[in-house]
Symmetry: C2
Subunit: 420 residues, 2 copies
């Protein structure tokens, strides 16, 4: 064992590290067909092309009366109600000189070019001629403009349009849109199979030992909990290997086994440069490992490699470092494995309601939006303080070397965007 001196210049910019990481995230082979009901959160492996137009015909956007607008020059015109068109009907043409009772979503009858909403109409005692035909009479209380309250066929979707594109990650509205064009099944990327383990002999599983009996030097494993949730939110199929002992042989065994049937092996802990960390030699003995010091805070140490055909990503063990590197690096990686074409979070400009000294590394400060439209800072920004990530509703992306003064504009990334 010799000295572990490292050049300070070895720190890698985050954007550079992310770009490098993403070159390795080639979309997984294979897709699966799922019910559109079950496609929420999945990434499309097909373009969704519409075989029909939506809406299929011109239809009414109001409950009211369909008319020929040229026949109503003044308020108060009386007209027989010649037909009744509920939604789902297939009406005949509108008899000249008459109105058609019509409901929201119902097809506009041929000849009609406007709908008068029912709030502007009144049914009246019929004239004798109309009554003889058994028809009702309506007083049209407002002069219609041609086209009013009509939704045009195809205004939402035209026939042949690509409604949703391959690589799009589906949310509720997208699922609705697929249903809208009649797709009850969708081809989506298969779920990435991810094996997760933590390293660290100090880690105890909650439930295994009650708080009052925890031995000195031991702590509960929290990373495993949030990493599981984060992976599941991204659509991964998860194998939780628990805590692997801090020994080379145990680490090698865990890696070798996991590589057989997983796309990605994710670990937390064991990636700093101390000799207690067995991840590096273990991965290198089975494949290869790039070991990065990223110029970000929290989250400096990060490792990417391969174990057999499986990707390997090693996250730092500090909870906040692990959380932040996951959402900024692993999340886009896992989405790109599924063929997703968009994974960068949107930042918005907000106002800092705090002072901050800055750091020589780019920082991701845990902040929360306050009632005055500004951002409050969690007082303890230590990478060990997981409370900061629970308290926060977003991160301030603060450039290297920048001090923040109250009132400054800063770049805010909502956690809601990173956790979806």
């Amino acid at each position: 064992m010799i000295a572990q001196r490292q050049p300070a210049s070895g720190l890698r910019p985050l954007d550079d590290a992310l770009a490098d990481l993403l070159t390795h995230a080639q979309p997984l082979a294979g897709s699966q067909t799922v019910s559109t009901f079950d496609a929420d959160g999945r990434v499309l492996a097909q373009d969704c092309v519409s075989a029909l137009q939506v809406p299929p015909q011109d239809n009414s956007s109001m409950d009211g009366y369909a008319v020929r607008s040229v026949e109503i020059a003044d308020e108060g015109v009386l007209m027989p109600v010649s037909q009744r068109i509920p939604a789902g009907a297939d009406p005949g043409p509108l008899t000249p000189g008459s109105a058609a009772r019509i409901f929201t979503g119902a097809p506009i009858p041929a000849g009609a070019d406007a709908v008068v909403m029912q709030e502007d109409c009144e049914l009246v005692a019929p004239g004798s001629a109309t009554a003889a035909q058994g028809l009702q009479t309506v007083r049209i209380g407002r002069v219609p403009q041609a086209g009013q309250w009509i939704r045009r066929a195809g205004e939402d979707v035209t026939r042949g349009a690509v409604v949703l594109a391959r690589g799009q990650r589906l949310g509720p509205a997208d699922i609705g849109l697929a249903a809208n064009i009649g797709l009850d099944r969708l081809q989506v990327a298969r779920r990435p199979r991810v094996a997760l383990f933590s390293t660290g002999d100090e880690l105890v599983m909650p439930g295994a030992v009650p708080p009052e009996q925890m031995k000195p030097g031991t702590i509960y494993n929290s990373n495993r909990y949030f990493l599981r949730s984060l992976l599941q939110r991204l659509g991964c199929e998860l194998t939780d290997l628990g805590v692997v002992p801090d020994r080379r042989d145990a680490t090698v065994d865990a890696l070798r086994g996991a590589a057989l049937d997983h796309d990605l092996i994710l670990t937390s802990g064991g990636v700093s440069v101390g000799e207690e960390d067995h991840i590096k030699p273990a991965v290198e003995s089975l494949g290869r490992l790039d070991f990065w010091q990223i110029a970000m805070k929290p989250g400096k140490p990060f490792a990417y490699g391969k174990v057999g055909a499986a990707h390997f990503i090693g996250l730092p063990g500090n909870p906040v470092s692990s959380f932040v590197t996951f959402v900024l690096l692993v999340r886009p990686f896992v989405l790109k494995l599924q063929g997703a074409t968009a994974y960068a979070p949107h930042g918005v400009t907000m106002t800092a309601h705090f002072d901050w000294s800055g750091d020589k590394r780019r920082e991701f400060l845990r902040v929360r939006r306050n009632a005055d439209g500004g951002l409050d800072l969690f007082p303890n920004q230590s990478s060990g303080v997981l409370t900061s990530a629970s308290w926060a509703d977003g991160l301030v992306d603060n450039p290297a070397g920048r001090a923040i003064s109250r009132g400054d504009a800063v770049r805010f990334i909502a956690l809601a965007e990173l956790l979806q």
Copy 2:
């Protein structure tokens, strides 16, 4: 059947409608205990109080050497390495005049008051006295400040602290935090049981009829798809009753059955004022119904009532109206049923990169953030055009009567916040 005239003044402000609606959302009786692993998205039914402090002891935040800072007045001091402290160890006191090899997360030995990071240290050939004891020698290359690279016991969590409060909706970091204090099980609100159905004889289920065979006047049911996803994202236990025929008796039967074992019955369609809509009389025959015209666009018609002990909410049938009223009204309602204490989405101020004429009603415009940091508007804001909600990544909350000019500051609500 007489006239259906309605006063224009009958429109209700959204905030007023929401406040009224929420008075009915009393938290459901009953909670359940789940594994902390499975608590993501659930609402806490207990305060989580810490029985320990986190971290449990002062510990190192770096790999390096623990020292007494007063013993190192200058760079280059040589010290024997008197012990080695990995994470998880329970070290004895630091021998005066020596350094302890220490790793990230390992407890600080009694007597030490600083850690020198290993990048500032170098192992050197030992002096004869040290070598005789079989100890290594380290050159401390930097003068430490007292306290450096030490995480203090309890800096994250103090013993007895309420780490997570009853009513909080749990996300990944919260789950990690619960694990951090040793909680492997959490008491959470039970899932609201929701029955969902649509009304409308024009509705066809995707898969039931292929696009080229759709009869005139019929459309695919899209609302059912996104409403299912939205309810599931909120932790609901869902019963999907499908499409109920547009008849009073069928509607009454569906409602009566659903009321027996659900907390909420949610419908879309059938809540406008036309006589084709059977929801109103059906609900009233079994319970009571408040029928609101809300001053919002999209989404005017909205109904709240009770069928037996079950809540009833009727959403408009237009897809975008249904989607928007869900995320702005039903979402908070369902979260409050679970005892959640926070459910209002955060708006942020952004710049419109579009012009818009405004409306006499408050609008929720479908917009998307662009690469220039502004907002683009979906060109067709019709409430029938579901494509707008799929395309959008947020809503502009535009006050009644306000025209928007390019460059104006507007209130933006990210869909990510509303879909979580």
